[in-house]
C-alpha cells in the first residue's frame, strides 16, 4: 500500500473493533479509502463488511478504534458525516407505496437540498439513473434492477462525496447487475465521487474496483488493487485464489441463504 496523506483520504479507519455479545464482528481493522477511488470491501458472510459499513454510516455505535470520513470523526460529528455520505443498504429499501419521484424527493428534503433546487435535482438524479420515464409510477411496480437504480438516485440526491453501497447487486440478474455497475462507474467518472462498496461477486469487484480489501472473520487479510494482488501470486491468478491464499480457505458463499431470503421478502414487499 502506498503512503497517502490524511487530506487525500475519504475514509480513515484505525483499530476499529466491534462485538455483538460474544461474537467479534470486526477485529482491530486499519483501512484507508482514498478520495475519488472505487474501493471494494470483499469477503464471505460473517467477514465483518456490513458491520464496518454500519459503523461508518453511524448506524452502529463506535466501540473501539477511530474512524474518520473526510477528516470528520464519526464518533463526535455524526451529523456532519451523514451529510457527506450517500448510503444504499443491502435490502431493496425503496418505499413501494410511493412513486419513484416521491422516494427521491423525500431524501432531497431530509438532506436539506435548497427548496429552489429540489425539483431540478430530483429530476436530474432520476434522469441519470434512467428512471425519468417511470418516475411517476409506484415503486411497487418496479423490477429489482430499477429499485436498485432508484436507490442510487436517492443516495446521490445530496451530492455525496462518499457513496457507500452494501451489496448493491445482491439478488439481481446479470443484466441488472451490469447496469448498476455502469451507473456507479459513470458517477465516479463524472463527479469524482468516492465509492465504498461491499460485494460477494469477486469477478465484478475485479472489474470495477480500483482497490479492494479482503476481509475474513472480522479481520483484514489483504489490501491492494486487484491487479497487484493477483500479480503477487503469479500469472493466471484470480481474486478468489488471492482470497484463499490470505484467508487460508476458499471464498465461500455459505450463509447466503439468509440474504437470499431477505431479498425475496423485500421483493415480495415491493410487489
Amino acid at each position: 500500500m502506498t503512503e497517502t496523506s490524511a487530506g487525500d483520504l475519504a475514509v480513515c479507519i484505525r483499530g476499529l473493533g466491534h462485538r455483538f455479545k460474544q461474537t467479534e464482528a470486526v477485529v482491530d481493522l486499519d483501512l484507508d479509502v482514498r478520495s475519488g477511488e472505487i474501493f471494494g470491501l470483499l469477503g464471505p458472510n460473517g467477514a465483518g463488511k456490513t458491520t464496518t459499513i454500519r459503523v461508518l454510516v453511524t448506524l452502529l455505535p463506535m466501540q473501539t478504534g477511530q474512524l474518520q470520513v473526510f477528516g470528520h470523526d464519526v464518533r463526535r460529528h455524526k451529523m456532519r458525516v451523514r451529510q457527506l455520505i450517500g448510503y444504499q443498504p443491502q435490502q431493496l429499501s425503496a418505499d413501494g407505496s410511493l412513486t419513484g419521484w416521491e422516494n427521491v424527493m423525500l431524501f432531497a428534503r431530509l438532506f436539506d437540498v435548497p427548496r429552489r433546487d429540489r425539483r431540478q435535482r430530483v429530476d436530474e438524479s432520476l434522469e441519470m439513473m434512467g428512471l425519468a420515464d417511470v418516475a411517476g409510477r409506484l415503486v411497487g411496480t418496479y423490477s429489482g434492477g430499477m429499485v436498485r437504480r432508484l436507490e442510487l438516485a436517492q443516495a446521490l440526491i445530496n451530492r455525496p462525496r462518499l457513496l457507500i453501497l452494501d451489496e448493491p447487486t445482491l439478488g439481481l440478474d446479470p443484466v441488472a447487475r451490469a447496469t448498476v455497475w455502469e451507473r456507479v462507474a459513470d458517477l465516479r467518472a463524472r463527479f469524482g465521487t468516492t465509492v465504498l462498496m461491499t460485494t460477494h461477486y469477486l469477478e465484478e469487484a475485479d472489474q470495477i474496483c480500483d482497490r479492494v480489501a479482503l476481509m475474513d472473520r472480522g479481520r483484514l487479510r489483504a489490501v491492494g488493487s486487484p491487479a497487484q494482488l493477483k500479480t503477487a501470486l503469479g500469472p493466471g491468478t484470480r481474486l478468489d485464489d488471492v482470497f484463499r491464499h490470505y484467508a487460508g480457505h476458499k471464498f465461500e458463499e455459505s450463509g447466503g441463504y439468509r440474504d437470499a431470503r431477505s431479498t425475496r421478502r423485500t421483493a415480495g414487499r415491493l410487489g
Binding site: 454500519r54 443498504p89 436539506d112
Partner: protein, 277 residues
C-alpha cells in the same frame, strides 16, 4: 452538477459547532413536516385503507351507539348517548391507528428504509416526532370521516370551526403519544409478531378503562384510578368539551397530552437505535 455539499462544512473549517447545531435544530419542524407529508402521500396512493379503517368506528356508532341510546340507561348529564359516545369513538379510532404504528416502523426496519432514514442528517427525536405526528395526521383524516358519519347519524356537533380544528389538534396530540408508546414497545420487543400481540393486549383495556363509553364515576374505584392515569381519558374529555360542549378541563387535558407526547418522543428516540443494530 457540482460536488458542493449542502450544510456540511469541510473538516477543520471555522464554522462554530454551536451555530451548526442551531441550524440543525431550526430544521427540526421541516423534518417533522416532511415525514407527515410522506404519510399524506401514502394515504393518497391507498385511500381504500383509510375507508376500511373507518368500518370499526362506524360499527361502534351505528350498532353500539344507537342501541344504547334506546336504552337511555347511561347517566350522561342530559346529553344524548350517541352524542356522548361520538368523541369516545373518535378517540378510539385514533388509538387504533396509533397503537400499531410501531408495526409499521418494524416493517421499515426489515426493509432497510429505517436505516436509510437514520443515515440522513435527521436527529432521532425528529424522526420519532415525524413518525408520531404522521400517525396523528392519519388519525385526524380518519377522524374527519368519523365526524361526518356522526353527523349523518344525528349527533349534534359544535358549529364552531375553530373548535373542530382544535378537536382535530387534540386527536393528533393523543395519536402522537400512542404512536410513541407503540414505537417504545417496538424498540423493546423488536419483533412485529410480538408487537401485534402486545398492541392487541393493551388496546381494549385502554379503551374500556377510559371515559369513552361511560362516565368514570360509574366505574369501581380501582378502575377509576386506572382511568385517571389513562391519557385516553384526557383526550376524550377535551374532545367532548370541544365537540359537544360538555364541561371539560381543556387546559389540563391538553397539557397532560402534550407532556405525555414529549415524554414519548424522547423515550422512543432513545430506543430507535436498537431497531437497526
Amino acid at each position: 452538477m457540482t460536488l458542493a455539499v449542502p450544510g456540511a462544512p469541510p473538516a477543520g473549517s471555522a464554522e462554530p459547532a454551536g451555530r451548526y447545531r442551531l441550524a440543525l435544530l431550526l430544521r427540526l419542524p421541516q423534518r417533522v413536516g416532511t415525514l407527515c407529508l410522506l404519510e399524506l402521500q401514502r394515504i393518497r396512493h391507498d385511500p381504500i385503507e383509510l375507508l376500511t379503517r373507518t368500518i370499526q368506528p362506524a360499527l361502534w356508532l351505528v350498532i353500539f351507539g344507537t342501541t344504547l341510546s334506546e336504552l337511555r340507561a347511561m347517566p350522561t348529564g342530559g346529553v344524548p348517548y350517541l352524542d356522548y359516545l361520538a368523541p369516545g369513538i373518535l378517540a378510539q379510532s385514533a388509538l387504533f391507528v396509533a397503537i400499531f404504528f410501531g408495526v409499521q416502523i418494524l416493517g421499515e426496519r426489515d426493509a432497510g428504509v429505517l436505516a436509510k432514514l437514520m443515515v440522513t442528517p435527521t436527529p432521532r427525536v425528529a424522526l420519532v416526532a415525524g413518525k408520531a405526528f404522521a400517525a396523528g395526521i392519519r388519525a385526524a383524516i380518519q377522524g374527519v370521516v368519523v365526524l361526518l358519519l356522526a353527523v349523518v347519524l344525528g349527533v349534534t356537533l359544535t358549529g364552531n370551526p375553530l373548535k373542530i380544528v382544535a378537536a382535530l389538534g387534540v386527536l393528533v396530540l393523543g395519536a402522537a403519544f400512542f404512536a410513541c408508546l407503540s414505537l417504545v414497545l417496538a424498540g423493546l420487543v423488536l419483533r412485529r409478531e410480538r408487537l401485534m400481540g402486545i398492541g392487541q393486549a393493551i388496546m381494549m383495556p385502554l379503551f374500556f378503562a377510559s371515559n369513552a363509553l361511560y362516565p368514570v364515576d360509574l366505574m369501581p374505584v380501582w378502575l377509576r384510578w386506572i382511568a385517571y392515569i389513562n391519557p385516553l381519558s384526557y383526550q376524550i374529555d377535551a374532545l367532548r368539551g370541544l365537540l359537544i360542549g360538555t364541561p371539560a378541563r381543556l387546559a389540563l387535558d391538553v397539557t397532560i397530552l402534550a407532556v405525555m407526547a414529549v415524554a414519548g418522543i424522547i423515550a422512543a428516540g432513545a430506543l430507535l437505535g436498537r431497531l437497526t443494530r
